[in-house]
């Protein structure tokens, strides 16, 4: 029986956590993730879930405990944001290197300094090289759906990598939206049981996890890890197919809106896609061939598929909710541009860095972006490669 709820994004993720019902959760509070763990803690207190809840004393310890629990042979989850993710940075790499499939809601919030509690993507972008699967969710429904699927993707025997599922801090986490959750039994069946490989708790078959590699083995271990990441795309698509059969909702590597016959398009992650969609509708009504592409899988980056979907366009604007301070633009721009390069088509592609520290970005500003794209198409000239939109000069 499908259940429709009107709750916050954090509640949506907590609902998924309840249904995933992990063996261990080790988490530390940080705005705006806090409500997820608070709700889950209440579930533990009420005996509604089986998890052993470890109220660790820092996020570094949260991830460390998750690695220990996962290597021990159990299904493990945690959740964090911003500085918490940053504090975990060292051990994110360890989790990926040890191939422990920890599953983590990650509520996007700006990194200090200055300290800011609102939404931008600098936190998860800062961790993009850690070897984690990264999935973005536009709204509460996607956050719920993605979390369930992330378990199956990360734990897949050809993958065995940890996964973080993003949603925008405050915008999605704290706003109330309508979303449907699966029947508990269906969700449990979809998620399945965790099959531990080389568990520490199998004391009759003692194993050593996390050895010391010299230059003669480290590279091979990392190559193996890269191969696992190579499998994620196909696994994610297969899992999405299975999930569609259970939920009726289709997921892919990314979403497109009015893209097929578009001449100009915006590429943007997460909740801003919702705002962009209303702008596309308005422009289409006025006869502008505007389109939208919203990546879902950011790690691995589905370069081929994204490039193919964009290959017919006359101009593209990528909107980045984080700056990588490379002076080349934000991470989404850099990766999308690279994907487009191999097409050999030289489609003018520009970057708009927006919304840092929770700066609201409205339809007017996105309309400006499309207007700039039309200028590029008409004049054949790109004024600025990297633009900052919505910031006071």
């Amino acid at each position: 029986m499908v259940k429709t709820l009107a709750q916050t994004g954090t509640s949506a993720m907590a609902a998924a956590m309840r249904q995933i019902n992990p063996d261990v959760v080790a988490a530390y509070p940080i705005t705006p993730q806090t409500a997820i763990v608070e709700e889950f803690s209440q579930m533990v207190a009420d005996g509604a879930v089986k998890a052993e809840l470890v109220q660790v004393e820092s996020e570094h310890s949260a991830m460390s405990a998750c690695i220990g629990a996962s290597a021990a042979g159990s299904r493990v989850m945690t959740a964090t944001s911003s500085a918490g993710l940053a504090l975990m940075w060292e051990v994110l790499y360890v989790a990926a290197g040890c191939r422990t499939p920890v599953i983590m809601p990650m509520v996007n919030r700006a990194l200090s300094a200055p300290i800011n509690i609102h939404c931008d993507h600098s936190d998860s972008m800062g961790a993009r090289d850690a070897g984690w699967i990264q999935i973005f969710s536009e709204n509460a429904q996607e956050a719920y759906d993605n979390l369930l699927q992330a378990v199956r993707i990360g734990e897949h025997k050809d993958v065995r990598l940890p996964a973080m599922v993003m949603m925008d801090g405050f915008i999605t986490s704290h706003a109330i939206e309508r979303f449907d959750i699966l029947d508990d039994g269906e969700a449990a069946k979809f998620v399945g049981d965790y099959e531990a490989i080389n568990p520490l708790l199998d004391v009759d078959n003692p194993v050593t996890h996390g050895p010391f590699d010299l230059f003669d083995y480290y590279f091979e271990h990392k190559r193996g890890q890269a191969e696992a990441m190579n499998h994620v795309k196909d696994v994610a698509l297969k899992v999405a197919q299975e999930y569609a059969a259970v939920s009726g909702r289709q997921y892919g590597l990314f979403k497109t809106y009015q893209l097929k016959d578009a001449e100009v398009a915006v590429v943007v992650l997460s909740s801003t896609a919702g705002t962009a969609r209303t702008v596309v509708n308005k422009l289409r009504a006025a006869g502008v061939k505007a389109g939208l592409l919203v990546p879902r899988l950011f790690r691995p980056f589905p370069a081929l598929e994204i490039a193919e979907s964009l290959s017919h366009l006359k101009a593209i604007a990528v909107m980045d909710r984080s700056d990588s301070f490379s002076t080349l633009g934000g991470p989404l721009f850099i990766e999308t541009s690279h994907a487009l390069y191999d097409l050999g088509k030289n489609i003018p592609t520009v970057d708009y860095i927006f919304g840092l520290g929770g700066r609201d970005t409205g339809p007017d500003q996105i309309e400006e972006v499309y207007s700039d794209l039309q200028d590029i198409v008409n004049t054949g000239k790109v004024k600025e490669l990297v633009n900052y939109i919505g910031v006071r000069e």
Binding site: G97, V207, T208, G210, P211, D216, F219, E220, R223
Partner: protein
């Protein structure tokens, strides 16, 4: 002859080592510059050398100390220093190696 090192496709994910205690195949005895010589006649079987050896290199058979595992003994000298009966004496390792490079033991 060195064993061929495994390629990435053959290695266990995460670098997990499944062969517990396989370090025994690594002969740290090569490190020695001095070696303990065991005199069974003097030994009172107190087992202090066993509990003090950092390398589990005191050979014990049927609950009795019978000698030294020269494949692993690093020649630290603790056993000789602690033995109450002086049943272990440190000697120069060179006395036990021929001029040619020979296998430890």
């Amino acid at each position: 002859m060195a064993e061929r090192k495994k390629g990435w496709k053959e290695l266990e994910a995460g670098g997990v080592i499944k062969e517990a205690g396989n370090s025994k195949s690594y002969k740290t005895g090569d490190w020695r510059v001095q070696r303990p010589i065991f005199d069974a006649e003097k030994c009172s079987q107190c087992m202090l050398c066993v509990i003090y050896c950092p390398d589990a290199s005191i050979d014990v058979k049927d609950g009795e100390v019978v000698g030294i595992d020269y494949e692993h003994c690093k020649g630290c000298g603790i056993c000789a220093n602690e033995c109450p009966r002086l049943a272990l004496e440190m000697k120069n390792e060179a006395e036990f190696r021929t001029k040619k490079k020979e296998k430890v033991g």
